[in-house]
């Protein structure tokens, strides 16, 4: 497979080079459906849920989860997007990430917020997202869904819903989209 641009990283000047496919698009779809059912099971008042996708890799999964939950329950789920670039704690030790759109129209006070991301790794993105959400008020609860949990946590953070646990080495990189999950490496352009 030819080199392809890794769209869901905003690390300047890097390209994701895939090595092998870990999950097919069908397997990803099945995992998303399963997560949607788990979310419905755990949240009786599903209309109180707001799904927020993390820029940029979490957006496609957030939208897909909202679609499946709507399909199954008939409830329209409010969604939003969140960019945590301005909240990162590693901002001073690496070049700034390019920012992406944040759009949270819902009032989050007393709502259950479901954060959605593609890959859970060190946990620092999620910590930044929790910080950011505090600026919108006080949600009743915050839950986390990720497509892939690849381990190597540096903070006490865990996901409530996991599409697939994939133990990886820190030298590797994971690319997760609705088109499948790939393992590969990040190389400089």
């Amino acid at each position: 497979m030819a080199e392809r641009e890794r769209l869901n990283t905003r690390q300047r000047g890097t390209v994701f080079v895939p090595k092998s496919q870990l999950l097919s698009p069908e397997e990803v779809q099945r995992a998303v459906r399963r997560m949607a059912h788990e979310i419905l099971e755990r949240n009786e008042d599903i209309a109180n849920l707001v799904i927020i996708g993390l820029q940029t890799g979490g957006i496609c999964f957030a939208e897909r989860l909202a679609d499946v939950i709507h399909e199954v329950s008939g409830v329209d789920i409010e969604t939003g997007t969140l960019d945590v670039a301005f909240y990162r704690d590693d901002v001073t030790i690496r070049p700034v990430l390019e920012s992406a759109e944040t759009s949270v129209d819902a009032d989050l006070a007393d709502r259950v917020v479901l954060l959605v991301d593609d890959v859970l790794y060190t946990g620092r993105t999620i910590r930044a997202a929790l910080n950011a959400l505090a600026d919108w008020g006080r949600p009743q609860a915050i839950q986390l869904a990720v497509m892939v949990d690849r381990g190597h946590r540096e903070l006490p953070i865990r996901a409530d819903y996991v599409g697939k646990n994939l133990p990886t080495s820190q030298e590797e990189a994971i690319d997760a989209t609705l088109d499948g999950v790939w393992i590969g490496t990040l190389v400089k352009k």
């Binding site: 300047r12 301005f86 001073t92 070049p95 700034v96 390019e98 920012s99 950011a132 990040l186 400089k188």
Partner: protein, 330 residues
């Protein structure tokens, strides 16, 4: 040409590529969203110290830079030059070294001498330098916020977002800049930013208020002001700068107004969708009639409002991260 101001200084727009400019505009879109929240503050520059050094007076630039720094959680050291040792004859170098000794990460500076920010960047290479206007040279953040305002207006009309449109709304756009081009750093920055984004810039001014090297600039000089007005998409007016001696370059203010002022009569020549801009402070009744400045075609207040998010973008990109060379992931 530089492709990103991330981790660097912002002294002039002349060295920035289109990509670097679009990155600032896109980042500013993120900060417009931040400024619309109940809590208008993000921790991106927490622990950073930004010195604001205005050796020349300013209201909006200074206030919007300091507001921008505070909304990014930076600490702001503000030097009131009029009551500082500068008045006792301290040199620029000594002033900068003194402030640097207190520990600063960035300096936002305005100075009446062209090139002062470049000089300062040599004195303190470890400090990010952001030019807030130097003599007749450049006023980069004004140029950026003017372009941002134009993109915002055009994107709203086209039913798209600024971020999605990138630079495409500027392709072939006719921008007319009127007035004291010779003394204006705003004109120099505007011309850089608009031409880099793909617009076509025309200038209109009495011959005495055009710089002597205008032939080398990437602009067309209007031979007939009224005709140029009738085809312009954007009209950028400039303040007649009496403190830089502009008064001596025109026979009288009244004559300037009647030949190059945007009077209510002349404003009727404009296309209905033309955008009228002014960087402020305005000399109402000189370069622009009061009723034109307050008309719906004028976006002067929107320019001031956009000053904060655009300057947040500049401070964030230049000061928040490490320099591109020191990426630990390399």
């Amino acid at each position: 040409m530089i492709d990103s101001i991330a981790g660097g200084n912002l002294v002039s727009l002349a060295t920035l590529s289109q990509r670097a400019i679009v990155e600032v505009l896109d980042t500013a879109e993120s900060f417009v969203e931040v400024n619309s929240r109940a809590v208008k503050k993000v921790p991106a520059l927490k622990g950073k110290v930004i010195a604001s050094l205005f050796f020349e007076e300013s209201t909006r630039t200074r206030l919007s830079f300091e507001t921008a720094a505070k909304r990014l959680s930076a600490d702001v050291l503000s030097l009131a030059v009029a009551s500082s040792s500068v008045k006792k004859g301290e040199s620029l170098r000594d002033t900068i070294n003194t402030i640097d000794a207190l520990g600063i990460d960035a300096v936002v500076m305005r100075h009446s001498s062209s090139g002062a920010p470049v000089q300062v960047s040599r004195y303190v290479p470890h400090v990010r330098v952001i030019n807030a206007g130097d003599g007749q040279h450049q006023h980069p953040t004004q140029g950026l916020l003017d372009a941002f305002t134009v993109r915002q207006v055009l994107a709203a009309r086209a039913g798209t977002s600024g971020r999605e449109s990138g630079s495409e709304l500027f392709a072939g756009l006719k921008v007319l800049i009127v007035g004291d081009i010779r003394h204006s750093r705003v004109a120099r920055s505007d011309i850089e930013v608009y031409t880099r984004l793909g617009a076509h810039v025309t200038v209109a001014a009495p011959g005495t208020l055009l710089p002597s090297d205008i032939a080398q600039w990437p602009v067309t000089v209007a031979t007939n002001f009224d005709e140029a007005l009738a085809t312009a998409d954007v009209v950028g007016l400039l303040r007649l700068q009496k403190e830089r001696g502009s008064g001596a370059f025109v026979p009288s203010l009244g004559e300037f107004t009647s030949t190059y002022g945007l009077t209510a009569r002349r404003a009727k020549l404009l296309r209905p969708e033309a955008i009228i801009m002014h960087p402020g402070p305005m000399n109402r009744g000189v370069e622009i009639d009061s009723q034109v400045a307050d008309s719906s075609a004028a976006v002067i207040e929107q320019q001031v409002r956009n000053g904060v998010p655009v300057r947040m973008a500049v401070l964030y990109l230049t000061t928040a991260g490490a320099t591109l060379e020191s990426d630990p992931n390399d």
